[in-house]
Symmetry: C2
Subunit: 540 residues, 2 copies
């Protein structure tokens, strides 16, 4: 083991292991590249308080080579940062902040550039303009043995079509396919979870872009940044915080570096740890830090604030589902915020149910059954709802980003399978996803989503998260069950009334003959009979 | 996006995302720590041509704190390297070499140290002695904002119980459990796939160590290191190789930097790319590199050499299975080496089948059915074979390392489910793992195993790999099927003969009475009858 030991750069590591970042195959590479670009654009717009207006273009250059462009009207990037953000892995502003955002690691967009470079030899082209600055265009390659950006070209643009914003352009080896887990699917789901964004999407070889107009003109409130919660900090991290703090005394350290710790709580912890409130944090030894750590675990500290969360909201989830599903019934449920490993999170669930294309039966106030043709603003031809004999479609979102892969390994899917959907009118084999013409949408908003891989495809199964998802599913499921029971009743009633409608005229003719009624009397009798029957059969 | 942009160290990244490395929960953390230690020890011994003698100790300190020690008789580490190998992520000798080894990334063992440090605040203690050097003991912590080792103590030991070797000691938060996917299970499987190693394993609170003695005294031949195969190099990497080469001319570059490219083949590629054989590699532009890359794809180049592979071998697989399974039938099949993305690999499969604890029926040369009690050297009480109504147990190995988690996401499992086991006498629901009292062992040997995550728990589904596994399973399956059919025949024959054995004496008594035979004549007649019947019913 003594020979040829060498440092490995993070870029070399991910170049060789690119399946870890979602670049397993050319099809997924295309999707991941666009996803990383759109994530960054949406985050930038929201940070700048700007309603996002995002362009996505895919141009096919050869059979297996594409040019992808993602551009936004965000606040733009200052020139000093441009090359690093797009040409260095593990560089960014979101890793250390405890604030909800789509990006977390500072890897994604540079990894997309790295993949492009590995497969086509070409770097990325970035154009950006801040409100006050000029538009700058840079060519950036990634020196992957050093994990450093190489600027290969620099240009100041006289005029640019955006007042401010950023444009990311990359060539890559890829394949484009339609259907489930395609870019089309991703863009559609992104529109559902980001109703405040306008997306213009130009698929390869298309004549014109599909436009997903925003349904809401409110920029989601910028989530607040929070300090770490004492329960979420491990001993090793605590020791590092003690070493790095500017607080002079331990009692101040606890109050300043953590959320939910006031002076009283800080003194309580210190006393339990048998330390002095005026100890110097930087001089605390491992044993004392250990005592402090254990004291924290034993002290009752209230849950972290939830101002850092930005859920989609019930109204927006409903609107999103209604836009994309030709369903009969929609419902939403939102859980109160909860905490895992010191990180606040919140679960929202939406369900759409019904047969696309069929008429909707309902009962009016007088107890009459109405039959209406469903209408919806179709954005494109494919409906999210499947057939009644197919598995229910589960749409998973984390911080508004659709998760398209690794469905079976995801905590959300496990919660769906662990719920008893038979109680709510769907068929289900034990431990499986239920069957029926329904869509289940699950969203987790959190300052830190625990993904099972850097490719951010599935949420890790923390028991706290799975429990919250299950509770939300049960709540929405109960409403769905009530609707399905009622609808079955309406349908069976509708069928019976159809019989009545069919036979009543014959009864009328019989009555006319037996009682010698006039035609008008006959009609009156039939109407009376019909009304009586309908009133008696009123649906609750 | 312009504010607070910052570089993130790889250690900070993995500290926050430690589930990516297999430290999701305290139970898995214990296993992963031991696995990384043992992987390193086995690799070191084999590199040094030494028969491995490895100690594994787990000491319980508190309810959820353990001390883990892994020590080996490997060649030891020179002092300059000790702190970096154990205190810096992405540092090692194996990442850039194309040679089969257990470790690949230079992450594992330092990550175990990092986990220990994060959960207990304590660094690791490393003792190492090379054959010529003195034994050195270092305390090492990892500065995770810089990804650098901090040596906290240094000591020269007067004498040490090993002539050479390395000892890794770490304290960590963990839980210990028995059963499937436990450390016990891991150690047992490691003994199966490494029959040349002696393992001494001391579980927590045990009186004495369980010793898995080596079954073979040959150190596996050190696998050769190979140059990259042209088909496995992407355009971006090719461009980097052209920039970095010492070869003056393109024709030399192709011959010296790749395997399987001679002068003739090099000229063929260059001509197809319309380049000059005396072009300077370092001056080749992107377009020319692209032409070269495409020419390589179009040229027929023989598969890479397979001297770099170290399969376990059929004999060793049989021995390993026989040691751990009380089975009736064992079979092995080995595929010829194959290639994915330019990386050579080889698949081996072993199957054990039968009911543990039951007698074995067989037919001797004279056609007599024999019934023998199975014997095996039990290492511990648990047999790897399950019951007949349980799913078959699949043991997965990559470069001799047992893979215990992510079974359903693994290419090997998918190949098992995609094989029609009903043809081979096992029951199976469509697309599932078959049912039966059997163990299926699958081993992949490769210079680079494409794991689905850094935790190295499952193999990614490359079609070439899945195909080879399936072919190996089918070959072994056919042998299993033949055995099961034959055994069914023997069992039914055995049953019939039991009837004959039961009734023949009565037939004898009847004959004696009718024909007035003596007792001896009666016995003779019965023996003759029995022999005739058995001969006629001979099993093929």
């Amino acid at each position: 083991m003594a020979s040829a030991q060498k440092e490995i750069s993070i870029s070399e590591f991910f170049a060789k292991n690119r399946h870890l970042l979602g670049f397993d195959n050319p099809r997924k590479a295309l999707l991941t590249t666009i996803k990383e670009g759109v994530d960054n654009s949406l985050d930038a717009c929201e940070e700048g308080g700007i309603l996002p207006d995002i362009g996505i273009e895919i141009h096919q250059l050869e059979e297996d080579r594409f040019r992808v462009i993602v551009d936004d009207n965000g606040p733009g990037i200052v020139q000093e940062q441009m090359s690093k953000i797009f040409g260095k892995l593990l560089y960014g502003s979101k890793f250390h902040s405890r604030r909800q955002s789509r990006g977390q690691q500072g890897i994604g967009i540079s990894a997309a550039g790295l993949y492009g470079q590995m497969t086509t030899g070409k770097g990325v082209v970035i154009t950006s303009k801040t409100i006050k600055g000029k538009a700058i265009r840079l060519g950036v390659q990634l020196d992957f043995t050093k994990n450093k950006p190489l600027v290969t070209g620099e240009e100041e643009l006289g005029d640019w079509d955006r007042k401010h914003g950023t444009r990311f352009e990359v060539e890559l080896e890829a394949t484009y396919q339609r259907g489930l887990r395609s870019v089309d699917d991703y863009v559609k789901q992104t529109a559902v979870s980001n109703p405040h964004a306008t997306l213009r999407y130009l698929p390869p070889n298309a004549e014109e872009a599909r436009v997903y107009e925003r349904a809401s003109k409110e920029v989601p409130a910028q989530p607040a940044e929070i300090k770490p919660h004492p329960y979420g900090v491990e001993l090793g991290e605590l020791m590092k915080m003690l070493r790095d703090t500017n607080s002079r005394w331990l009692v101040g350290f606890l109050q300043e570096e953590f959320c939910r710790v006031g002076r009283k709580k800080a003194l309580e912890i210190i006393e339990l740890a048998k330390l002095g409130e005026k100890s110097y944090p930087t001089r605390i030894a491992r044993e004392e830090a250990d005592a402090l750590y254990r004291a924290i675990q034993k002290t009752k500290i209230s849950a972290p604030p939830t101002t850092c969360l930005s859920p989609i909201g019930e109204k927006r989830i409903l609107e999103g589902l209604q836009k994309e599903c030709d369903a009969d019934f929609f419902t939403v449920s939102t859980r109160p915020p909860a905490v895992y490993r010191g990180n606040p999170f919140q679960i929202e669930v939406g369900i759409a149910w019904g047969r696309p294309g069929s008429d909707r039966l309902d009962v009016d106030q007088e107890g009459r059954i109405t039959k209406t043709r469903k209408k919806r603003a179709k954005v494109d031809t494919e409906d999210l709802l499947g057939n009644a004999d197919e598995s229910v479609r589960v749409l998973r979102f984390a911080n508004r980003v659709p998760l398209l892969f690794q469905q079976s390994g995801c905590c959300f899917t496990k919660a769906v399978s662990a719920t008893s959907w038979r109680n709510y009118g769907l068929s289900q084999s034990k431990g499986s996803i239920p069957t029926g013409s329904a869509v289940i949408l699950i969203h987790m908003a959190s300052v830190w989503v625990p993904f099972t891989s850097e490719a951010k495809e599935a949420v890790a199964s923390y028991p706290e998260i799975q429990k919250e998802v299950k509770l939300a599913l049960q709540e929405a499921g109960r409403k769905l069950g009530a609707h399905i029971r009622r609808e079955k009743k309406v349908a069976s009633e509708f069928e019976k009334r159809s019989y009545i409608d069919q036979y009543l005229p014959h009864v009328g003719i019989g009555l006319q003959e037996i009682l010698g009624l006039t035609a008008r009397e006959r009609e009156e009798a039939v109407d009376n009979l019909k009304e009586t029957l309908e009133t008696n059969r009123k649906i609750g």
